[in-house]
């Protein structure tokens, strides 16, 4: 049984202005195995963030089924944690306080355990010494580390990541990608990773699903054969570029269809 199963998922948005429905997701099916890193790429507006929000339990859906370990998703749950595109940190809490926050809301751990885990994940994302700083004192990359640590500290079965590095500069993004793989190799969570950056998806994931826009559909799923650990220089390997190119062509082709 897959860890995260999406079966024939359909989602319509109601557009109030002209009384019609927009089909955001149409018959989307996807199975993510336990411990697998699955990336989803697609043009903006293809519904990939909608898919993630449904998996997080933040959006209702119309048809089909989303399940974790076979149990249907009906709302947010302690088996999932989300890493958002915007760090979404409480500005009045310190870094340690923010990393604690997810655990605190979910009430799964005792105070002592929460303190230990906070400490552990502060170190895991390399922010020791910044525990008592406030988010406004940190760079964008560091804020995203806190966002990630908050999710990991909550010990989810499935980690949902919504373009977490999109707002970072190119150099920081590359470093964060390598960092994420290092952390993931220790934590071994099931990951659903949304991005519009194809090289990012190919570098990080075990499989890359390509979505098309209007309506949002899964077009194809590419297995990524590279061994782990993956060094950053893999991105310049010809085999890597071949796969990236193949994914690119598929994404481009859809854009043409959508454009016409």
């Amino acid at each position: 049984m897959p860890k995260l199963a999406v079966e024939h998922l359909t989602k319509r948005y109601h557009v109030e202005r002209d009384e019609r429905h927009v089909l955001a997701l149409s018959d989307v099916s996807l199975a993510v195995a336990d411990g697998e890193f699955m990336a989803i790429v697609g043009p903006s507006g293809c519904g990939k963030t909608t898919l993630l929000n449904i998996a997080a339990g933040l959006l209702p859906y119309d048809e089909g089924r989303v399940a974790i370990d076979g149990r249907q998703v009906t709302g947010p749950g302690v088996d999932r944690a989300v890493v958002f595109q915007h760090a979404s940190l409480l500005p009045w809490r310190t870094i340690a306080g923010n990393i604690r926050y997810g655990m605190e809301l979910q009430k799964r751990f005792e105070a002592k355990v929460m303190a230990e885990r906070t400490d552990r994940f502060v170190r895991m994302v390399g922010l020791q010494g910044f525990e008592r700083h406030y988010p406004s004192e940190l760079s964008g990359g560091m804020q995203q580390r806190v966002n990630l640590a908050r999710a990991l500290a909550a010990d989810p079965a499935v980690l949902l990541m919504d373009e977490p590095f999109a707002a970072l500069d190119a150099q920081t993004r590359e470093l964060m990608q390598a960092e994420l793989l290092k952390i993931w190799s220790q934590a071994r969570k099931t990951v659903l990773f949304i991005t519009h950056q194809i090289d990012e998806a190919v570098y990080l994931a075990d499989r890359v699903a390509v979505m098309s826009a209007r309506p949002g559909r899964i077009k194809e799923v590419f297995p990524i054969p590279f061994e782990r650990p993956r060094p950053l220089r893999l991105k310049r390997d010809p085999r890597f570029l071949d796969i990236e190119d193949a994914v690119w062509r598929l994404v481009e082709e859809q854009d043409d269809v959508a454009g016409n």
Partner: protein, 270 residues
């Protein structure tokens, strides 16, 4: 403060640091002292009638008289109590109602027309009605303070709740936050800077409320003292009352400002 504006003699170390540290206080203090000195000199020259005007020394003398023999102490206590009770009730009610109205869309639709009408009405117009309801005793004063101080707290709290960061709400929801957790960890802390702005305005308006309230009927308090002094041409007493109100305003507003700053520590520095 910038080096370019320093004159060379101020660069002598001890004088420089002492002056620079308290530049605002020193310049302001000197200015106030100069004005009071000029006022005193003008008054001492005896060219104005004490019926219409007064001088610093006369006000000070009146202060000592009223403090030792008069009922200034009891007036201060009376006004202080009216102010404290009225403003406290206004803050409590304004924050609680503001959070409810700001968060629940339906409640806000129900309340908005009434609030707009009340907010647009000059509160002074309600004073005769308040006197009919509460009499001329202490509670009418408290209520006048309350109604003056209530709106800034309410309006600012509603604004603060409505301005809550949607990303933070979504993050809290994703981690299974209950409504109560959402209020206590996101909505209320996020609204605190707004609430404190409301408190600062409430303090200023509450002070007006206490003075105006005591001018309408009753026979106690600083507002009454000013009003009575005016009607009996005791210009010293009027000035003393005004000076006391001004001092209270300065002290209370700066306290509220400090509170505001204390709670916005986490804000990005501007």
């Amino acid at each position: 403060m910038s080096p370019a504006t320093e004159s060379p003699e101020l660069l002598v170390r001890p004088r420089r640091s002492l002056y620079q540290k308290h530049e605002r206080l020193i310049v302001g203090g000197v200015a106030v002292a100069a004005v009071i000195g000029a006022w005193q000199a003008f008054w001492s020259s005896g060219r104005i009638s004490p019926l219409f005007f007064t001088g610093p020394s006369a006000v000070a003398t009146r202060f000592v008289e009223e403090w030792t023999h008069g009922k200034l102490k009891s007036d201060l206590a009376y006004s202080g109590a009216n102010f404290a009770i009225g403003v406290s009730l206004a803050i409590a009610a304004g924050v609680v109602l503001g959070i409810i109205i700001g968060w629940y869309r339906r409640v806000s639709m129900v309340c908005e027309p009434f609030l707009s009408a009340l907010y647009a009405t000059p509160r002074v117009a309600l004073i005769p009605l308040i006197l009919i309801w509460f009499g001329i005793g202490m509670w009418s004063k408290v209520f006048i303070v309350f109604i003056n101080a209530f709106f800034p707290v309410l309006i600012n709290t509603i604004g603060g709740v409505k301005a809550v960061d949607a990303d933070l709400v979504r993050a809290a929801r994703a981690y299974c936050a209950s409504d109560w957790q959402l209020f206590t960890t996101v909505v209320v802390p996020g609204a605190v800077p707004f609430i404190l702005t409301g408190v600062r305005q409430a303090v200023a308006l509450g002070l007006i409320g206490v003075v105006v309230g005591e001018m309408f009927g009753g026979s106690e308090g600083i507002g009454y003292m000013v009003n009575y002094g005016g009607q009996t041409f005791q210009t010293d007493t009027v000035f003393l009352g005004v000076a006391i109100i001004a001092c209270a305003g300065i002290v209370l507003t700066s306290l509220a400002e400090q509170l505001e700053r204390r709670f916005s520590r986490w804000r990005p520095e501007r």
